[in-house]
């Protein structure tokens, strides 16, 4: 069955379709104490910026019903430290590393992407143009299709690896945006980043987060993410990495059926470090039960009328 989990994403070969989301897995060291990073489909690293970034003032997190808000604000040690210490280490596990890139200007994104590609250690670049937690940059770069497309082509000129564009679900016209970045040269989409959100402490009448606003992640946002993947799949042909509130294998399979070629799990890592591998096992079990030979057959299946072949609805254990 191992062959059945293999997949390919913009030419990148993966042993299974399950990755970990940017910013929810540090740069791997913390969770390498808990699971074998080499068993993942791929690793998406924490957003890296050209210069070190201290991040936002605390409090940075707040739990909401079945979800959480965060306003980390791109805290990272900067590109030089990342290239020297983090990337070589995380690349040593032999699974594709997608380096998530952020910045405060188009030049910065392009510069960071170029250096990441030049390192020879990354498999792809994921452009974070949807961070709700920084005042300059972040979401600002996807405020219009033109801005986003210009950013993508600037990066595309300097990057010789596949470029994935990570988008927010809070866009007026997600389909139009997907089409615009695809035309500008994006090789894939990462859907979605957290949803801009906030919470107020009514006893004190002040916002809960030091940064006032944050981003919502976790099960509460999952259906929003499924819709985004669904719409993107209808509008563009480039592959999609689905993410947002994946808590178990069913959520992952749902994303895949909505059109994602691969998935990434985020917030659930905080609760259960073993979750990404449990998702892999769950997908494997589901495929066996349904008699699905290759995970690729599930991609976008819900757009094609679902399981129709009688033979694919067999009873548990019979595969």
């Amino acid at each position: 069955m191992e062959a059945g989990l293999r997949t390919e994403l913009a030419g990148i070969r993966m042993q299974n379709p399950v990755m970990v989301c940017s910013g929810t897995w540090g740069n791997g060291r913390e969770y390498a104490e808990w699971i074998d990073p080499g068993a993942l489909g791929g690793i998406i690293t924490k957003s890296v910026t050209l210069r070190p970034c201290p991040g936002n003032p605390p409090p940075r997190i707040w739990e909401t019903p079945s979800g959480m808000l965060n306003s980390i604000g791109l805290e990272n040690r900067g590109l030089a430290a990342f290239l020297e210490e983090d990337l070589p280490w995380i690349a040593g596990f032999g699974v594709p590393v997608f380096v998530n890139v952020a910045g405060f200007s188009e030049e910065e994104y392009a510069e960071v992407a170029a250096e990441v590609c030049a390192s020879g250690l990354a498999a792809a670049v994921e452009l974070n143009i949807s961070c709700p937690n920084v005042k300059k940059g972040g979401l600002h770069f996807s405020s219009s299709h033109e801005d986003a497309a210009r950013m993508v082509s600037r990066v595309r000129e300097r990057a010789d690896l596949p470029v994935f564009v990570k988008l927010s679900p809070r866009l007026n016209d997600l389909k139009g945006m997907c089409a615009a970045v695809a035309r500008a040269g994006a090789d894939g989409l990462s859907l979605v980043n957290t949803i801009p959100a906030m919470s107020i402490d009514v006893e004190r009448a002040v916002p809960r987060l030091g940064n006032v606003t944050g981003g919502l992640s976790g099960p509460a946002m999952h259906p929003v993410a499924v819709l985004a993947v669904w719409e993107a799949y209808q509008s563009v042909g480039i592959p999609i990495v689905g993410m947002g509130g994946i808590w178990g294998w069913e959520d992952a399979v749902e994303m895949i059926m909505a059109g994602a070629t691969a998935v990434a799990v985020g917030t659930v890592n905080f609760v259960d470090p073993g979750a990404p591998l449990a998702v892999v096992e769950g997908i494997r079990g589901f495929m066996t039960r349904k008699g699905v030979a290759r995970v690729g057959e599930l991609v976008g299946l819900a757009h094609r009328g679902g399981f129709r072949d009688e033979g694919k609805g067999r009873a548990p254990g019979s595969g």
């Binding site: 201290p54 605390p58 940075r60 965060n70 917030t267 609760v271």
Partner: protein, 257 residues
């Protein structure tokens, strides 16, 4: 090594406002005072784990001492003997026992939990720490002070003066005579810790360790959600869960706390 565990509650004691849950931990489970467990606290839409310091029971077994602050901690207090808890741990950096002539522990509220564990470690090294512990009122303590009095030199404070000194644990600390070189170990609300840091001055902050409480998501240093401001040129943050929760008072930027 930290790991994920499911451990049975083998004993439950209620001390005033706090509930002690003694855990049946696997052989070889080793922890230091100041380290914590990241505990699943039921469902109802609560997805994140909650951090609780490791403490010890009267017999020296590892335990939690939980004071209800919200839904998750209330759920924990309602667990019964025989039920199981799901946690990650032990996590974080604990206290270091300094080479000092005098060891003073300062606890506010449930901050007593890690300090009771620390006091046990000190006794094993033939040290006799003194402990200042503050609560709102007498009922909050229950019978725990009677037990603790056998474990260290204990003095109590209550805001309403119903037991011990009238005021906070900090007021109590200020009221007592100390040698210059005393080592201080504190755990309690943010106000208490920053009040203490101001009072100590630069030299005192070298010899004082504090366990900070910050909201946590991952508990292992991966999400950067539990940031506390540190004193370095870049005005950066440390992760309370991994680089802490115990810090030397001099490591933290109290102006930005």
């Amino acid at each position: 090594m930290p790991a994920g565990y499911v451990a049975q509650i083998v004993e439950k004691n209620v001390f005033g406002c706090a509930t002690e849950l003694v855990l049946d931990l696997p052989r070889g489970f080793e922890a230091h005072p100041g380290q914590f467990l990241h505990v699943r606290c039921g469902g109802d839409g609560r997805i994140l784990r909650r951090p609780f310091s490791l403490t010890v029971s009267q017999r020296g077994e590892l335990a939690l001492l939980v004071r209800p602050a919200g839904e998750g901690s209330r759920w924990l207090c309602a667990r019964r003997v025989g039920e199981e808890l799901d946690f990650l741990g032990p996590l974080g950096r604990g206290f270091s026992i300094l080479d000092a002539g005098e060891h003073v522990l300062v606890a506010g509220g449930a901050g007593i939990a890690p300090l009771r564990f620390l006091a046990l470690d000190m006794r094993k090294r033939k040290l006799r720490p003194s402990l200042c512990w503050g609560m709102e009122n007498e009922e909050d303590y229950g019978t725990l002070p009677e037990i603790l009095a056998g474990e260290c030199d204990l003095s109590l404070a209550t805001r309403d003066g119903s037991a011990g000194f009238e005021g906070t644990a900090l007021d109590l600390l200020f009221s007592q005579a100390r040698t210059e070189s005393a080592a201080i170990y504190a755990c309690g609300p943010r106000d208490m810790l920053s009040g203490m840091a101001r009072w100590l001055g630069e030299a005192g902050r070298e010899r004082a360790q504090v366990s900070v409480e910050e909201r946590m998501a991952c508990g292992v240093g991966a999400c950067r959600g539990c940031a506390v401001p540190v004193t370095d040129a870049g005005a950066t943050y440390a992760a309370a869960c991994r680089e802490g929760p115990v810090f030397f008072a001099r490591e933290l930027d109290w102006e930005r706390m």
